[in-house]
């Protein structure tokens, strides 16, 4: 570390700047985009006054930072050198006061800026999350979860630094830099100009380094991500690795990734270890210039010793603002890149919204009517449901069968209005579902799906997910009916056992049982079973059959199944193929008919062996 003289200011050494380079490096550099800036600045508006105060404090800090070396000069030139012992007290008091003020000013400024920054960060995250809840499923289908998470967590964090610290720090730094230059020019224009010859070199070195550093730190991030990725895959596939005796191979693969990571880090850090001494050396060159030229000027009595000492102190203060500004440039680029993504997400329109005059869906009786429905998931995607019409009578059970991709699940998705149809109308009790609020509709329609998702909360919380007011007794009753009680009771903490992320501590079958319990507790008016018992073992399935029958009783139910045996009891069966209804009737009628249904049926049971 180069020496510094006079008081020391709460600034950053180059080492800190370096530490922060590591984090202030982002994948893509963003370009200036006024719309993004405007949207983001709007978040600062509620904090205008705090920002103004912070700015004033920043100016105060800069002023005081510049003042104290000057005071040291005054002490030397006017009191120490002329041997004026009495005046020394006065100047000491002034210096002390300025140090104390510096403390309050800089602590206050730092606190205000971080506070505002974090407040804004929390607000943007909250807004994003809120918006994500309102976006239609179609949006979520087409966006990878990890990427969206990174929008909410990482991209937002990138903006934070620019919004809060960035602007204000930039102003402060520029003022300090300009201030130093002016003071030096005033004290001794000649010595100042000579000293400034080092400046371009420092700027050049910083610029070159930040270019290389960006690339090499990006490399380290992707390498460590590869290490994490490889290890995560190993851990999740550990059973297969051991079952197939592949331990050696997996160790070798990991070691390779790990080695690359080590190399990337050593490269990146070596670069920094060249940069820092370079900057330090350039700093020392400036000091040497001041000593040599300044010394000669002092000897020639064209400048005072105090001026030279002050110069020595100011020279060391060049680096910090220059490093800061170059860092801010990087921060700005990444903040723009992050900000663009965040704003894009915030601006994504909600496609499925309640109409302004949407009313509450009254208690559903259960008539479901599809009236010439045409549906595709995206405008440019193939038609999934092609001119389908049918009517389901209240309280009846209807089955949808057909090969994979026939459009069965899409029908379920449309009744809950997860997607909007392109043409036709879906009516429940003769009310178009687009005329009612989504919430009032969905509260009365329940889907038990093939791979139900459980949240990483307790089993009980998962069962009462939609009915937070259900008592424990009700939850337990629902679990008993769904045949889930036994395994829940056998779990380490019973109903309070936490579901692990992704539900890995439960089998798919158990997850389905929980989901059935959830549906039982929900008491929906319309029930959709989408392969609801596909993963439940045979013995359990027998047991919950009764529960399901009880659940279906008195409700309109739509059963989607591959296993044709589970649909035989339906009042009516629709056979779908390529998005169209190709057959309908009861089980026996369809078998007699001898077309697709009969073929599927025969195929399923004439297995070899």
């Amino acid at each position: 570390m180069s020496f510094s003289i006079g008081n020391v200011s709460p600034g950053m050494g180059p080492r800190d700047a370096l530490d922060r380079y590591g984090s202030a490096n982002r994948e893509n550099a963003g370009k200036f985009n006024p719309h993004v800036i405007r949207r983001l600045l709007a978040y600062l508006r509620p904090h205008t006054w705090k920002m103004v105060v912070a700015l004033v404090l920043t100016l105060g800090e800069s002023g005081l930072t510049l003042l104290t070396p000057y005071l040291t000069k005054v002490a030397i030139d006017q009191y120490i050198t002329p041997r004026d012992a009495s005046g020394l007290w006065g100047i000491a008091v002034i210096i002390t006061v300025s140090f104390i003020s510096l403390f309050f000013v800089s602590a206050g400024q730092r606190y205000l800026l971080s506070w505002v920054g974090q407040k804004v960060l929390a607000k943007i995250r909250s807004d994003l999350f809120r918006h994500l809840q309102r976006l239609q499923l179609g949006y979520h289908d087409t966006h990878i979860v990890g990427v969206t998470v990174s929008r909410v967590m990482n991209d937002v964090a990138e903006i934070n630094e620019l919004l809060s610290q960035g602007v204000i720090t930039l102003i402060g730094d520029l003022i300090v830099l300009v201030g130093i230059i002016i003071i030096m020019l005033t004290m001794s224009p000649r010595l100042a100009l000579i000293t400034f010859t080092v400046l371009p070199l420092i700027i050049l070195a910083t610029w070159v380094f930040s270019r290389f550093a960006r690339a090499s730190f990006r490399e380290t991030r992707s390498k460590i991500a590869a290490v994490v990725g490889d290890l995560a895959e190993d851990i999740s596939g550990m059973r297969a690795i051991q079952a197939f005796a592949q331990e050696k191979a997996s160790q070798e693969r990991f070691e390779r990734v790990n080695r690359e990571n080590r190399k990337a880090y050593i490269n990146a850090m070596s670069l920094s270890f060249i940069f820092l001494p370079t900057i330090e050396f350039l700093g020392m060159v400036a000091t040497a210039i001041v000593l040599w030229f300044g010394g000669r000027f002092v000897l020639a009595e064209t400048v005072t010793l105090g001026v030279m000492v002050a110069f020595l102190s100011y020279v060391t203060r060049f680096f910090q603002p220059i490093l800061e500004v170059s860092r801010l440039f990087t921060t700005f680029q990444s903040a723009m890149a992050g900000g663009e993504q965040v704003v894009k997400l915030l601006d994504t329109p909600e496609e499925i919204t309640d109409l302004p005059d949407a009313r509450e869906m009254p208690l559903i009786n259960g008539k479901v009517e599809f009236d010439h429905i045409i549906f595709r998931y995206k405008p440019d995607a193939p038609v999934v449901i092609n001119d389908v019409s049918f009517t389901i009578q209240p309280g009846s059970t209807v089955a949808l069968v057909g090969p994979t991709g026939a459009g069965k699940t899409s029908v379920a998705n449309l009744i809950t209005r997860f997607y909007d149809i392109q043409s036709g109308a879906i009516r429940i009790d003769n009310i178009d579902i687009r005329a009612v609020t989504q919430a009032s509709l969905r509260r009365q329609v329940c889907v038990v799906s093939q791979e139900p998702f459980l949240f990483p909360r307790t089993l009980e919380e998962n069962i009462r997910y939609h009915s937070p007011n259900a008592t424990h007794a009700e939850v337990e009753e629902a679990a008993r009916q769904a045949n889930a009680h036994d395994f829940i009771a056998a779990s380490p903490e019973g109903y309070r056992t936490r579901v692990q992320e992704g539900g890995v501590n439960l089998s798919v079958g158990q997850r389905q049982l929980i989901s059935i319990a959830r549906a039982i507790l929900a008491k929906p008016r319309i029930l959709i079973l989408d392969e609801a018992t596909a993963n439940i073992d045979t013995v359990t399935e027998v047991a919950i059959q009764q529960a399901l029958e009880r659940l279906l009783h008195g409700r309109t139910a739509i059963v989607i199944a591959h296993r044709l045996s589970t649909v035989r009891n339906a009042n009516w069966i629709y056979v779908l193929d390529h998005g169209e209804i190709v057959e309908q009737g009861t089980h026996t009628e369809l078998l007699d008919h001898g077309e697709l249904y009969a073929q599927l049926y025969v195929r399923q049971f004439t297995n070899p062996g």
Binding site: I95, L102, G229, Q242, A243, A249, S565
Partner: protein, 597 residues
Amino acid sequence: MTAEKTAFPLPKIQPTTVPLLHLLWRVYGYLRPYWKQTLGAYASLLVILGLNTLIPQFIRWIIDTGVEGNQPNVLTWSVLALLGLTLVKGVLNYFEGTLSEVASQNVAFDLRNAIQKKLTQLSFSFHDQSETGELLSRAVQDVERIRFLTGRATIRILDGALLLMVTAIVMLVMDWKLGLLVLVTMPVLVYRALHFGSRFRPLSLLVQKQLAILTTAVEQNLRGMREVKAYVQEDAEIERFDHENDRWFELSARSAQMQAVNLPLLFLIANMGTVAIILYGGRQVILGQLTIGEIIAFITYLGQLIEPVRRLGMIIPAVTIAGSAAERIFDTLDTVSEVRDLSGAVPVGEIKGDVVFEAVSFSYGAKKVLDEINFSVRAGQTVALLGSTGSGKSTIISLIPRFYDPTAGRILIDGSDIRKATLHSLRSQIGIVMQDATLFAGSFRENIAFGSETATEDDIVNAAQAAQAHEFIVRSQQGYDTRIGERGVTLSGGQRQRLAIARALLLDPKILILDDATASVDAETEHLIQLAFQNLIRGRTTFVIAHRLSTVRNADLIMVMEKGRISASGTHETLLNSSRLYSEIFNRQLVRKETLS
């Protein structure tokens, strides 16, 4: 957003159960192979330290002799010498940094390899109880903390401590009264720095943890979006998120407050030292006891001390934190796998396929999962296991490849206890096809050849054909080279299952373990999978968790499991008469599912 004020208790740093010194000793032991680099780094450090002490003296001397003493020649060569010294220091700085970086990166490299290796050796019961995120954080964050400790942290601690000592000595030698006066600030400075560090570290860990909670909250919410919408829980989810988000803000604001005060306060303390120097030192100069150059040197020394002291304050708590990281890592590394090769285990030769269970019991924690299981199967026979979830079916099949070892009793293959064989030789002759087949990110070819490195292209294609997988593989864009898994094509359940069958066929095991469930596939696919199963079972001892009538009816032995015991066993015909449970399952489920009149 409402930011309700709530007080969160600060957590204490987890007291380690192993003495910190022992942990540190073991941690630094990892530097041993890299002693040359480490030694080089520390040697450079000492020289740099010397130069750092020398340079302010030099500047003082330049001012006093060159400028005040009016000797322009001295000025010139001493300035050049100053530059030379800085250059030397720069080079040494580079070595110090790079060498210690190389050494500590190597420590991280070795530790990560060791952890990964250990994970591949630990038995299923370990993996059943551990969470991926937790293990990852050990291998990534905890290792990073150790790396920091063995690298820059130690350098900085030494650097700071030595600099403090040397500077103190130099100041006292220069002028012991002024030196003493300045050094009064030191204890205050050190105390402040340590106090801050010990309070700030735990808080910042808490902030990080809360950030992780927030991330998980968003992630799980997005994954469960269908459920959120279906059950109209958007508002409840927002409330949950805001709650965690507010907590994050609380914690960060508190951390910001601590940080905002800390550095300015350190500088304030140090600056008070400067005032003392000007005041007392100024008087001494006036009295002719000190030179101006000496005052400047004093101020310089003081300035030099702030950074190291600040860092010491930050790093010393990091040692404690690295200590608990080390404890977690060593905990993993020291875990002894419950299932391991016994001393004297030998590779088994080619297995014939007779399997015998002799009074096998298995407990999972306190829970008895299997209770005295006895049966024997001859090579080539098929055993069908029936029973409800939790009846012990999966446990029985997990014991054969020794994913777990029985708590009592023994398992014999071809008449010899499987614990006498090496794990590798045993497992490489047992094939497993489960419902949720694990596929790795890679091509179809790599996934099928998983476990059979020497397979030729023909072998792979033959296996895929027999598994009824060839068709859909060829239809995909790059045939057998098509990538699957992450960033590759996604596969249906039926396709995954057929790949798993192909994998097992290629392995050509003598003993086969499979789950014949084919949930949620259409009749056409089901038909293909049936064919594949038939090809697979032929000529092997097969244990199958049965879901199909045909499998059950054709089995040589059917075992009906109930609460960890075999409640009935025999062939289809004998069981229909003797077991009520079996006939119930058979009639009510299997038959009801599949009868075609």
